[in-house]
Amino acid sequence: MDIGGTFTDLVLVVDGRVIANGKVLTTPSDPSVAVETGVTRLLEHVRAEDVAEVVHGTTLVANALIERKGAATALVATRGFRDTITIRRELRYDLYDLFLEMPEPLVPRRLRFEVTERVLADGTVDVALDEEEVRRLARRLRREGVEAVAVALLHSYRAPEHERRVGEVLRRELPGLYVSLSSDVSPELGEFARTSTVIANAYVLPLIDRYLEMLQKRLTGLGFSGALRIMLSTGGGGVAGVETARRFPVRLLESGPAAGAVSAGFWASRDGREDVLAFDMGGTTAKACLIERGIPLVAREFEAARVYRFTKGSGMPVRVPVIDLIEIGAGGGSIAQVGPFGLPRVGPESTGADPGPACYGQGGDLPTVTDADLLLGYLNPDFFLGGDMRLDVDAARAAMARLGDGLGLGLEETAAAVHRVVNENMASAARMHAIERGRDIRRCTFVATGGAGPVHAWGVARNLGIRKLVFPPSAGVASAFGMLTAAPGFELARSLPSPLASTPWREVRAAIRELAAQGTRQLVDTGVPRREVRVELAADVRHRGQGDPITVELGAGLGHDPARQVEDAFERTYVRLYGRRPPGVESEVMTWRVRVAGPLPTLDVKLRTRPGAQARKGARRVWFEETGRVQTAVYDRYLLAPGDTFTGPAVVEERESTMVIGPGATARVDPVGNLVVEVS
């Protein structure tokens, strides 16, 4: 189940087959209420005690950070360093905006405290911790009414003892206080990102802890006795036990999008043989994510609660492994207007759900992408949301005509302009996303989901030079479904910066062993058999003294010549990304990463067919960039059967969306119900 901002989605799988799904309104004050409602409905199909596991994802963490609804939180820092989260990297994220703002820290300065202690870069203690001071601090925290405390001391990734001691003293003095240590949450070099991460974690800790406790109670009350697993922000090896989630809630930050991407990867390439671009376009934004070998690319850092949603650098860094996706200000509600040079501009401003596009007839009169899609013939005014909502063509026309006046264009040209421009915006962003990661986007299979994704897939893929598109079935609950396709797993990291030539391998091996044991224990606790736990090692490596490291894969662990092994892997990865590498430059490892994962769930998702049904339900005139307006066949998605093929131009309608297939393309339905489109 996936708890979104508006809806809570549920999917029930029995013996590897999807038996039922459901959608209920989210109950923000206590989201476990909606879960109980939804689950109770699914219990018509299965007995609670027969359910082996419940997998769960949520936007609660992201929302708490954006809406600043977390706990009253304090920070404990090394003396002289309480301003780390205000000082940041001293960089403006937009060169030209004189009026930009930095995100307000989650902990006000008056609740940022310093303790006397100092550890040096090599882990040695320079100034011992003053424990009496910590006890005095505990009394102060009580007076301030603080509910959670983040502890972030310098170089604690290397020597966590002071942080642990601070944690022990505070817990003893203030039972019931939530304490989060940076050396637990994100033991990585770089005090700004690490402090920001542990603060975010502490800030949401009480909220998530209480919620998960309540959820467990409700599920137990309904008769569940299976494992409760929580979807993490990564996707690949990305489901963890509830205890882990209760300690590291910040790892749940992007669980919804991660599950969506895993789902896209599942449908497009279950065997992971093809690289995938997952493209999800909704009402206000589009998201794109690259998937390789069945696993979404993972970034080391994420930005939460950006001041400007689409501007890199305007948020709080959270350094945990997280799905690497780009969010673009382009959705069905994106507003079209005349830009500063007399040219059409679309987004990132959006009408949102209320009043929505002009054609929603809810009082909106601004022309939007959805209005253009309607006027171009992509959307059926009588079959929007399966006919639950009638679209007002006249209102769309009036809004679009006003824009056309400003641009000096006719109605159809204007609608086409909006469609083309928003497609170009999305294609450009996706192209840059791939280039910055050294990937060739043209080789990818394009998987379109979301309400507007399938409508725009054809145009965006065409701009990107992509030749194969996949429209998976039941896109409406893709995230909830994705959670069931993800393997249980967890990633742990620890920074031990050292030149490769003089790395203390004994210390490194011990650290890796400890991380692997810790991760394995977490998986075993959630019911994964120990022998099925896979361990993978990776390291962040860079040229000595130079810039950001890159993550290189090292297989199952360190061999007998670890320096050579890391060097070779670094060489391979570096050359793949950058073409060549300098000779004679020393390499250094910054951070070691251990991933533990259980087996992939097996799912049987064969499409049930209804023989004899006529899928083609009519025809209408639809606009295409290639041909202008042409007579186009319309199909009912639910009546298409595996093996059906047809050629574009075509439009395929389903409840949640509409698939647009351009002239000359061939479409076929594969055995699991994907609509696969290939450009000849």
């Binding site: 960089l91 008056r110 770089g190 007399g342 040219l343």
Partner: protein
Amino acid sequence: MSATSNRRRNASSGSGAASSVRGRGRRASAPAIDPVTLEILWSRLVTVTNEQAAALQRTSFTPIVRESGDLSAAVFDARGRMLAQAVTGTPGHINSLATSMVHFLAEFPPESLVPGDILITNDPWKTSGQLNDLSVVTPVFRDGRLVGFFGNCCHAMDIGGRGLSADAHEVFEEGLYIPMMKLYEAGEPNQDLLKILAGNVRAPFEVLGDVHAQVAGNQVGADRLLQYLDDFGLPDLEALGDEICDRSERALRDAIRRLPDGDYRKVIHTDGIDEPIRIECCVKVRGDEILVDYTGSSPQVDRGMNVVLNYTAAYTSYALKCAISPEVPHNDGSFRPVSTWAPEGSILNPTPPVAVAARHIVGHFLPHAIFGALVKVIPERVLAEGAGNIWLTTVRGTGSNRFVTVFFAAGGTGARPTKDGLSTTSFPSGIATAPVEVIETTSPLVVRRKELRRDSGGPGRFRGGLGQAIEVEVRTGEPFVVSSLADRMRFVAEGYAGGKPGAAGSFKTSLGTRPNPKLSQALPAGTRFTLELPGGGGFFDPTTRDPEAVARDVAEGLVSPAAALRDYGVRVSPTGHVLGLERRRRRTSRGAAGPSPRRRT
């Protein structure tokens, strides 16, 4: 960098800039492109330059290029008009690329170029003002016909000489000079040049690697451009170039026309090394054109702080764009209505062979001078003076441990007419600073504190950003040498419209001395030094600041109760409760919210 080349530069980008650039303006009667196609062509062309820049940035070996985007990349048409520039990290490169193309074409006319040629130079006067910036230009041919150029300029990790300091007296001391020449000739690399380059820099592999990355970046751009022309069935970039330049020019002229005509003047000073440096600027608005005239500024100096005219023009153009037309992109058209003039031999238009390496410590003040001039006409669109240049501090071990390490730090920015300034944030440069843990991992430095300086933000209805104090110890147990390209130790950041100045910067040692950090200081083993970075100026009279905002600043420890009373006329308890208002506030004190801030979604 002969006197001749300097004269030529003046002819094309100095006083004659406005007229000579207009002289290369549009040809009549290009076939019109419909607005939708134009929007798509234009935005795709910008993406092509972003791809070019990303390819270069990703493969560079130089951290400041990779992480802070200290580079520029652009596409030009066959006539050398710049049509689009990638969005990258620092303003210093803004129109210097466009101007350098004029020089490249003067040296190598289009008819002299063949496929496979690639051009290079680091002439500070013809490009972006220091030898470390290497410019590489690649002509693009289609069916044997020249259709355009890709150019980029990238900060090299090293170029020999004294490194990035103000120490030199002549440019010859600052490193290797590469005159405008061919890096590749018909596909063959110029091995002699590469050998000379490798033999004159401290990190030959990285520097050559970056040059190759520059070549590769342009190649990515060229490949994409040819594909682009095919995709859209365009014969060349001419018609598109006309549209892009004309529309940009028109938009900028419209923006300028909204300013009242007049001469808007401002004089500011920076500390300099031996003598203060005067920057005098007059922004002359005439109809739909602007001339920024720096007559009256200090003469050129005997240290590496001279700012070549290209760099002067870059920061001038940057400041005007921020204040007048943030939405108009940089291209040949948007340069036409603006010209920059500084007298030859002045610090803002020096003559060779003066030293120029640390030109940013003067150049970064230019936007403050321009905003100071414009605050009289558009107070709602500028920010008050800030800390100025980012401080670059170099520490060198002089005992048996011969290390060298460099780190950056920023003070506060000026307040805005609708909001407080930003604390510890660089303006105008766009360089990220390193975390303390990284500094300590890669050097023997230990940072004892790095914290905001209370009361350093200039008082105002909107307060200036705070500076910071950084206390550093060197753990070698040996003597060391430290220098810092610091400023605003004498001349503080002024407030605007009644706002008060920010705190001055300082450099102190644990010996109790306050030496001039711009010159290298030898310090004995065990000495600690403290950098105190300046705060930004305030905006509007501080007695009109919302008393609750003053109280919040006190509660947060950003303003002391004493300063709250002295500067703002508000009595505040140490815990941040308003206890009373001074009589002088009664007239002015209201809810002090200005117009609502500009916001993007």
